[in-house]
């Protein structure tokens, strides 16, 4: 297995693409015209989650990697994947008295900027782990591990997973998590206690469609500038809450299906959200075999399909819950990874799309990040006259001067 490394320079946009058989890294200069593919890292192991931590001057990749043989672990790299650090002994482990064993790491989320050594990990079976030493050690958040609802949570198609972590950028004590199937839970005391926050979200697979918990929420997003507003893509249902999850309102107007997995929010516009509707839970492919990303720009009052550059015939594609992402660039980039191993990129907020990787193993997650640091100044262009001469082949600068051989 040959691994290809791509050089990442400050200001580059980097896609961390986790697949069923390793992590790939796609990089492009800030204008995002040309993408280079690096990897696979952690080859042969499934990467369900990847993250970049840029706090405290770091440039640290995190990946949740799982081998079906040897178990799951959290791994990190400080050089964009060239070398990985993985402790010999498993760094995420359930306490003996819980009787639980780790199956998968589904989400790694660096904490707030003002707590640079704090990170969170959502795992299967559903639990939240926390590190307060920059990822060196991880401990389960007891308030959720010992939650009285735990015994009633049921695995969804992907397993009983805690797949979404939303720390409140404005309030250290408040945070949301989502479990399939358990629903949304919120803490307001830094993780000591958690309350189910699913009022208004349907559970179509239960006789009582509005239980306190047990919903199959697939993804929740929040814009840091508007911390009380949350959007949720449910297992059937698209929702918005304006009171931190106390009550959810259906916003599925103008979508071909309200079933789906992924959801991503615009980096600067809190009313702009992206989803990829899938036909149904029995046929988890895009409707009409046309791959379309849907976007709302008015907080869910209306949705519009974005299809330019995406396959519109015979596209039996599935986009999983973490395989839809936005970057922080201007204009915002939007990225979609498919279970058939394709990655599409839009550098104009979704208006048009380009295939930037194909033939990868099934894509499980896509994270779009910007390499920290000051971008290098662009190379100065030569004066026009010289460029014209160069095209005609007159420029001495174009010819390579012979390199003198060393005298032996």
């Amino acid at each position: 297995m040959k691994t290809r490394h791509v050089p990442v320079t400050p200001g580059d946009v980097v896609l961390l693409v986790g697949t069923a058989k390793g992590l790939f890294v796609l990089r492009a200069a800030g204008r995002r015209r040309r993408w280079e593919l690096g990897g696979p890292y952690q080859a042969g192991r499934a990467v369900y989650t990847a993250a970049l931590d840029t706090r405290a001057g770091r440039q640290r990749l995190w990946a949740g990697v799982a081998s079906l043989h040897w178990g799951a672990v959290i791994s990190r790299s400080d050089d964009w994947g060239r070398t990985w650090h993985e402790p010999p002994e498993a760094n995420v482990r359930f306490p003996a008295e819980s009787g639980l064993s780790l199956k998968q790491v589904w989400q790694i989320t660096p904490g707030r900027a003002d707590e640079p050594d704090r990170l969170f990990a959502g795992v299967e079976p559903a639990a939240l782990f926390e590190s307060t030493d920059a990822g060196a050690t991880w401990t389960p958040v007891r308030g959720l591990l010992d939650h009285p609802h735990r015994e009633r949570w049921q695995p969804g198609g992907g397993g009983l997973c805690l797949h979404t972590i939303v720390p409140d950028a404005t309030n250290r004590e408040r945070m949301w998590i989502a479990i399939s199937t358990g629903g949304v839970y919120r803490t307001e005391d830094g993780g000591r206690s958690w309350v189910a926050r699913n009022k208004g979200i349907r559970a179509e697979f239960l006789p009582d469609q509005h239980p306190e918990f047990g919903q199959c929420v697939h993804k929740v997003v929040q814009h840091p500038a508007r911390p009380d507003t949350l959007y949720a893509q449910n297992h059937w249902g698209l929702y918005r809450s304006d009171d931190g999850g106390d009550v959810w309102h259906d916003i599925a107007r103008g979508v071909p299906s309200d079933f789906g997995f992924g959801m991503a929010i615009h980096p600067r516009a809190p009313d702009t959200v992206y989803i990829v509707p899938l036909e149904s839970d029995m046929f988890r492919c895009v409707p009409e075999a046309r791959l379309r990303v849907y976007r709302t720009r008015d907080g869910g009052r209306s949705w519009h399909g974005l299809a330019r550059g995406l396959p519109q015939r015979n596209a039996y594609e599935t986009v999983l819950r973490d395989a839809l992402a936005t970057d922080g660039a201007e204009p915002a980039g939007v990225y979609v990874g498919t279970r058939s191993g394709k990655v599409y990129a839009s550098r104009d907020e979704g208006a048009s799309w380009t295939l930037v990787a194909d033939g990868l193993p099934p894509v499980l997650c896509v994270r779009a990040v910007i390499a920290p640091g000051k971008p290098r100044a662009p190379r100065p262009r030569r004066p026009t006259r010289q460029r014209t001469r160069a095209r005609r082949g007159h420029s001495a600068g174009r010819r390579r001067r012979p390199v003198p051989r060393p005298v032996r």
Binding site: A20, K21, G44, A46, A66, S67, L68, H69, W70, G71, P88, E89, A90, R93, F94, A96, G99, L100, S101, L102, K103, Q104, E124, P155, G156, G157, G158, G159, L160, P362, L364
Partner: protein, 120 residues
């Protein structure tokens, strides 16, 4: 004290000081056989990283890892309580099921690899 050779799969060798085989000495009161778990504990004492790849944090054999005492899979001979005599060879091997299974069926408990006896 008895001595047992433990064969390590190539992928775990970095966690065992780069070795593909490790000789472990296991206290045996009467010099006879010991349960496999004692052999493994002696191995973990030298190379603790191997433990978490072979067993879950609850001490159960991972479903897609097979252990053999001599040619026999311990799934058919008493599991971690299988008797290991002096001079025996214990092998840790990935089951053939592990690589083939899709990452997507991880939701349901993967079927234990009890029937996998292939020598990889």
């Amino acid at each position: 004290m008895i001595r047992v050779a433990v064969r390590i799969p190539a992928v775990l060798a970095p966690l065992a000081g780069g070795q593909r085989a490790v000789a472990v000495d296991v206290p045996a009161p009467d010099g006879g056989a010991v349960p496999l778990v004692r052999v493994l504990e002696a191995l973990w004492a030298i190379h603790p990283g191997v433990r978490d790849r072979v067993l879950t944090e609850q001490g159960a054999l991972r479903p897609h890892v097979n252990l053999f005492v001599g040619p026999e899979s311990v799934r058919f001979s008493g599991g971690l309580a299988t008797s290991v005599p002096d001079g025996a060879e214990v092998s840790i091997l990935p089951a053939v099921s592990g690589g083939a299974a899709s990452a997507f069926n991880q939701g349901s408990d993967a079927r234990p690899a009890g029937m996998q006896t292939a020598q990889v």
